[in-house]
């Protein structure tokens, strides 16, 4: 996928502006904040979708009922390193401004979407794949906010970009206006979906027949669950699940996880309402210096179908847990959430950050869009 220079990006962006002529555009005067800073923890939000409270399906079932204290010490578990790939995706989304035409108006967002992989070779990390998209997000065509003609033109521009190998994209919301609480949040959600899609595309290109892959965050979507030899590793996670350890006294997450000491994993769980899909457990990477109750804990999602765990599966789970535990070094202190942040993922994030567009340049997108729409 070809990244473009600044002037080429502006020239391509002007095509959107020409398409939107006839309307008005009020640009956002600010380079900051990016949209992601306006909302909460995205990892936790993703994992909340696994445990939607309003459906009351958040009881999780212990798949290791015989495990004493529902936890296992990892210090003595030997493992052969299996993880080679570490994948992360990031978003940098900017509200460019508001498009007005007749009685309709809608926001336009641009989102810089990246996905990077680091590869472990021996004890060293090497940069693997880096994929990027620059997406401009518009409302659904049936929302009534955008005319059919303009929609068709935008689709054609997008197709031209795809055909030419351009990394720019025009994307549309799938929901109609009346299904959304807030169109800007929905657009941000769309950007996040695009990021997951890009992550999935990149992951599928990795050779995971023998080597394993860690994806940063919870894995929920089926496109992730189909990936072979892959786990999701989330440093923050939903507080919704209630743990049924089989003793008739379900525990809230903080009660249960506070029992887990450094170098221990929890029992393996699955959702009560789900017999297929994924199983999950938690590993405590560290408990010193003193930290908040869920600090230093990572959640591991693992694609697994079935109600029972075989000995082999349990053995793999133990080895995965032990290897994840060993990833606590080197540390990322004093970065935010460092106690549960692993270095290879952070490096992938750094690689993406090093290729971010300058925020001033993103700010210019809105200006150029306005000038083109106004025919200046």
């Amino acid at each position: 996928m070809a990244f473009l220079g600044y002037s080429d990006q502006i020239n391509e962006l002007k095509k959107i502006g020409e398409c939107l002529r006839g309307g008005d555009f009020i640009e956002s005067p600010f380079d900051y904040p990016v949209e992601e800073h306006r909302r909460g923890d995205p990892d936790q939000r993703d994992d909340n979708l696994n445990f939607p409270k309003k459906e009351r399906k958040y009881i999780v079932i212990n798949m290791e009922p015989g495990l004493a204290d529902a936890k296992k010490r990892l210090h003595d578990i030997a493992y052969e390193p299996r993880f080679k790939y570490f994948l992360d995706g990031t978003l940098k989304t900017k509200y460019l401004g508001e498009y007005l035409e007749g009685n309709n108006n809608f926001p336009i967002l641009s989102s810089e979407i990246s996905c990077a992989v680091t590869e472990k070779v021996g004890s060293q990390l090497r940069p693997g794949r880096l994929e990027k998209r620059l997406a401009f997000i518009f409302p659904h065509k049936d929302s009534g906010l955008i005319s059919d003609t303009k929609y068709d033109k935008l689709v054609r521009i997008n197709q031209l970009w795809i055909d030419s190998g351009n990394y720019m994209r025009i994307e549309f919301l799938q929901k109609k206006t009346d299904e959304m609480d807030n169109i800007r949040y929905s657009m941000l959600g769309k950007a996040r979906d695009l990021m997951h899609k890009l992550e999935s595309e990149v992951a599928q290109q990795l050779d995971t027949d023998d080597d394993w892959l860690i994806i940063d965050g919870a894995i929920r979507k089926s496109l992730f669950l189909k990936l072979k030899n892959t786990i999701g590793l989330a440093k923050s996670f939903s507080r919704n699940p209630i743990f049924d350890l089989g003793d008739g006294d379900p525990l809230m997450i903080t009660s249960y996880l506070s029992r887990i000491k450094e170098g221990e994993r929890t029992a393996v769980f699955r959702k009560e309402t789900e017999t297929e899909g994924f199983i999950f457990w938690y590993v405590k990477l560290r408990d010193f210096p003193p930290m908040e109750p869920l600090g230093g804990i990572v959640k591991i999602d693992f694609s697994y179908e079935g109600n029972e765990l075989s000995e082999d599966t349990l053995s793999i789970i133990d080895e995965i847990s032990a290897e994840v535990y060993s990833m606590r070094f080197p540390s990322l202190y004093p970065e935010p959430r460092w106690p549960s942040y692993i270095y290879p993922i952070r490096l992938a994030e750094r690689i993406m950050q090093s290729s971010y567009l300058n925020s001033e340049i993103i700010g210019i997108f809105g200006r150029e869009l306005r000038k083109t729409i106004h025919g200046v």
Binding site: K120, S123, P344, R350
Partner: protein
């Protein structure tokens, strides 16, 4: 100026050793730029490198400092990352680490003939080792006004060696002149370097004569004999420098007279002349002889002035006493001297003066009258300053109280000779003095001997006289002497000494490097270069004591 690419660069395949980096936190500037270094690349401070700005524009730099970065934000990060201080904690992966070098800009150059580009080097530009052509541009070989004098070799970390040249017009005049070498004894190789430089000058220029004072053992008493200690590496260096391995030619040695005749020297050379001083030789220079004696009320200078002014037909008279020899002077009645000099019968100075002169002329080279084979240096030197001639005066075993006098007397005669002569008729003269701090010490009120040396440092360049001085501590030498030097060669030196203003031309990282220089390694600073550079040089091509 037009920069010409060498063959390798022209093919487009010079080895890229890194890329420039100009982050927001420490951007490149007009005078320096940074670059990250490719893994496993051999690179060291003082290596010269080239940043390729565009196809037509290059910037040559010299590595000033190197940094080993990791992404650990502080020491605590590493402590925590190692199991809270457990040295045995196993790291799952190694941290990302990068070597970053900071280079001082030496020169910007272009291949298209346009003017130099002085703007800072931008980010992400490839960096390669400087080749001979780039180094020649960086050190301004294209702008040499006189003759290019080999001054050492740059050894790059990729194993390549390139000769360094200095402009003779700036080394021995007329643009500027003088060289100064400093460093701790033994390791700093200061005298060897100055002698190497003299060799290079003599092989490059015809119109030069050298006067050397030998102050240590027989170090410089066999410079016309082939070297016995050269190794293959020395020979290779001479070849790179384009210099023949030959001892000095046309050398005249002057050795001090010993008691009873013969030379008072260690390991005397085969051919020499003895020098000695009778009063009639130096009656004008008694101020030099008494230069170390306090003379707060100028009573001594009144006496030396009378001797100088009233000397006639081989003597000076004090009332009824005639004085023509040292002994005459020492036996002359005090009253006669007092009356003649101070206009009174009694004065405290004559007995003091005689005590001092007795002490200062105790050395065997001070004679009542010279023998037929003995010469007075002042006259002898005047007639021996000829192109290609090297005069070596041994003062090694001369009593330390008399050494300044000998140097001062020679210098005064030389200065007079150069004053009296038409410049076009005389060759350039290099005067090489070791232990310069003894003869021109740091002082607010220099004595007559120091004044002679300072005078050359101050005005010598215009009179075709250059001073090549060496000492352990430059800070102990008079500021006028080192301050006027164009070329500074600095061998290994301690940190306390390097804090002195005399080393102001060295940056912090260069000073740190000076602590660890080895034998045959020096930092050279030359007035036409933008930055000091590290050089190595071969052992001198003459016999040295083993």
């Amino acid at each position: 100026m037009v920069y010409e690419m060498d063959a390798e660069e022209e093919r487009g395949d010079p080895q890229v050793i890194g890329k420039t980096s100009s982050p927001f936190s420490s951007p490149n500037t007009v005078t320096e730029f940074s670059f990250w270094v490719k893994d496993k690349m051999r690179l060291n401070p003082n290596d010269m490198i080239v940043a390729q700005r565009t196809d037509e524009s290059r910037t040559i730099g010299i590595i000033d400092e190197m940094y080993a970065y990791t992404d650990a934000q502080n020491h605590l990060t590493n402590y925590i990352g190692s199991g809270l201080g457990d040295p045995g904690a196993e790291q799952y992966v190694e941290r990302v680490a990068s070597l970053v070098a900071k280079a001082q800009v030496l020169r910007n150059m272009r291949t298209d003939g346009l003017a130099e580009n002085y703007t800072p080097v931008s980010s992400d530009r490839p960096v390669i080792y400087a080749d001979g052509n780039a180094i020649s541009m960086a050190l301004g070989y294209d702008d040499i006004k006189g003759t290019a004098i080999p001054a050492g070799l740059i050894v790059q970390s990729n194993g390549e060696q390139y000769p360094v040249f200095v402009d003779s017009d700036y080394l021995i005049g007329p643009q500027s002149a003088h060289a100064n070498a400093s460093g701790i004894s033994g390791l700093a190789t200061k005298t060897s370097y100055l002698m190497f430089l003299c060799h290079a000058i003599m092989k490059s220029l015809d119109d030069v004569s050298i006067l050397i004072f030998n102050v240590k053992h027989s170090d410089l008493l066999h410079i016309d004999e082939p070297a016995l200690d050269l190794i293959d590496e020395d020979r290779r260096m001479y070849e790179k420098l384009g210099l023949p391995i030959e001892p000095f030619d046309d050398v005249h040695y002057y050795l001090p007279r010993r008691e009873g005749g013969g030379p008072d020297s260690d390991d005397a050379p085969e051919n020499y002349e003895l020098y000695a001083y009778s009063l009639s030789d130096v009656y004008r220079d008694l101020d030099l002889l008494l230069s170390e004696v306090p003379d707060d009320y100028n009573t001594l200078s009144a006496f030396t002035g009378v001797v100088r002014d009233r000397w006639a037909t081989g003597q000076v008279n004090f009332r009824t006493s005639s004085v023509s020899t040292w002994n005459d002077l020492l036996t002359c009645p005090d009253a006669d001297i007092a009356w003649e000099v101070y206009g009174q019968a009694r004065h405290p100075t004559p007995p003091r003066m005689k005590r001092e002169i007795r002490r200062l002329t105790r050395y065997s080279a001070f004679v009542e009258s010279k023998g037929p084979t003995e010469v007075y240096l002042g006259n002898e030197i005047r007639s021996n300053i000829t192109p290609g001639r090297i005069n070596v005066i041994d003062i090694n075993r001369v009593h330390s109280t008399s050494q300044p006098f000998i140097i001062g007397d020679v210098m005064r005669n030389l200065e007079n000779f150069y004053h009296e002569s038409e410049l076009r008729d005389i060759p350039h003269l290099i005067v090489l003095i070791d232990e310069l701090n003894t003869f021109a010490p740091h002082s607010t009120a220099p004595g007559p001997v120091a004044e002679q040396i300072i005078e050359i440092a101050r005005k010598g360049r215009a009179r075709k006289m250059a001073l090549f001085g060496a000492q352990q501590f430059k800070s102990e030498v008079h500021k006028q002497v080192w301050g006027n030097a164009t070329l500074h060669a600095i061998g290994r030196t301690g940190s306390a000494e390097l804090r002195h203003a005399a080393y102001g031309e060295l940056g912090k990282s260069v000073k740190e490097m000076v602590f660890s220089l080895g034998l045959g390694e020096l930092i050279l600073s030359f007035s036409t270069w933008r930055s000091p550079i590290k050089v190595t040089f071969p052992r001198p091509p003459y016999r040295r004591p083993l």
